[in-house]
Amino acid sequence: MISTILIIGGGQAGAQAVDTLRREGFGGRLVLISEENELPYQRPPLSKKFLSRELGVDRLPFRHQSFYDEHRIDLKLGARAVRLDPAAHQVELADGEMLNYDRLLLCLGATSRRLTCPGAELAGVHYLRGIADVAPIQAGFRPGARALIIGGGYIGLETAATCRKMGCEVTVLEMADRVMNRVVAPSVSQFFALEHRTQGVNLICDTRVVRLEGQGKVERVVCADGTSHTADLVIVGVGAVATTELANDAGLACDNGIVVDEYCRTSDAAIYAAGDCTNHPSLRFGRRVRLESVDNAYEQAKTAALNMLERPTTHDRVPWFWSDQYDNKLLIVGLSQDYDSQVLRGDPATRSFSVCYLKGRELLAVEAVNHSKDYMAARKLIAERTPLNVEKMADPQIGLKEAV
């Protein structure tokens, strides 16, 4: 009998798992432990409206304390799990407390990839992943402050947009030849590069940071070609790695994430995992993936919760992602690898267009810029593998869902 369920990690997945477990009738002991001191909260606004102070700290939590009280959820904040003993069904916390479980769910998330070049440890070099990272960045906001952002991915570009809004002079350094190169088509990169430059961002691609310099705190960032950029504030957004230490040390299978099956089960039958920390099978795309995505965390947490209650459920979803930069919304659905053709719908100059990725007549992914209609239609078309008419698709006057 399952009388105690323990969840490690208070992010999107952990918060959703307790919700689903109680909603689905689990009446036993439910413990959620989080390293952070705040009630489980939404992370996406950290680089956007929370960073710009448009959204107060009271609006970040998924649920108020009363929710956890009413649903008898033992919420342990500021608590760090240091050891997992799968044989004894036990987790040890940093303060020495031992917690037993019948089922364990790991929602460990991902950790910002760190710079390793000389000077990377200087004061004034920031990462953005948790709520505690925000205030030190905001402290550097003042009109004319020079914000230097390393990395032109989601975090780097969203932060660049917010820093501009806060009156900073912004430089973005990107190693690849275009921004967001791992996640979007060249036409979408081009659109966002132009947006940032129009907003006054000094965006430099094809450049590699080799060293950070400064007396006590960072003052300059030096690139491989010898150019040097003065900076009052450095923000690093160079990707993230799955947090797997606890699982790995306990002997659970890990390979770019904690390896789980479609039921979110790890290599130990009593332990499940969900969210950014997992390497999981995508049933729709027929291969293993690791995703950094709110939707994936939410859906895997629901799946894991149902399976922990012995209600077999598979995780079978088409992933989706979004990014807000200035007043532009980028909406992405599906995974574009393995495509054999691309169709551009609409004209980027109109600021509303989409790029569709096909394999034969089957839609694999859509990147929609300020175009929610194509994005929403694509979610269904991709999931249902609806064969599309490529000629009709190329005509933006025809709705994507009518292009069959």
């Binding site: 919304k329 929610s372 869902k401």
Partner: protein, 106 residues
Amino acid sequence: MPKIVFNEPDGRRREIDAPIGVTLMEVARQNDVDGVVAECGGACACATCHVYIEPSWLPKLDPCEEMEEGMLENAWEPRANSRLSCQIHITADLDGLQVTVPQRQG
């Protein structure tokens, strides 16, 4: 505080005091209103906070912009009075607003 009336999918009627300035979605989520999922947290990116507004109230709400319209068009069973609750801010004018939550989201 304005009172908002939510009709949940199972027919249960909930009267909730809503703080001014937050969104209708946040009121639903913080009060555990059944059926309002709001996966994206209010970014107008998921269409899982879809609700039906009692038609007489529609003119009093923040207008529906193109992004929201596009999301709604492909939401589950959209109607003329469909809105995404994350795009509606609570004002004093909305005291008594009647909202019905659809049977499902997406």
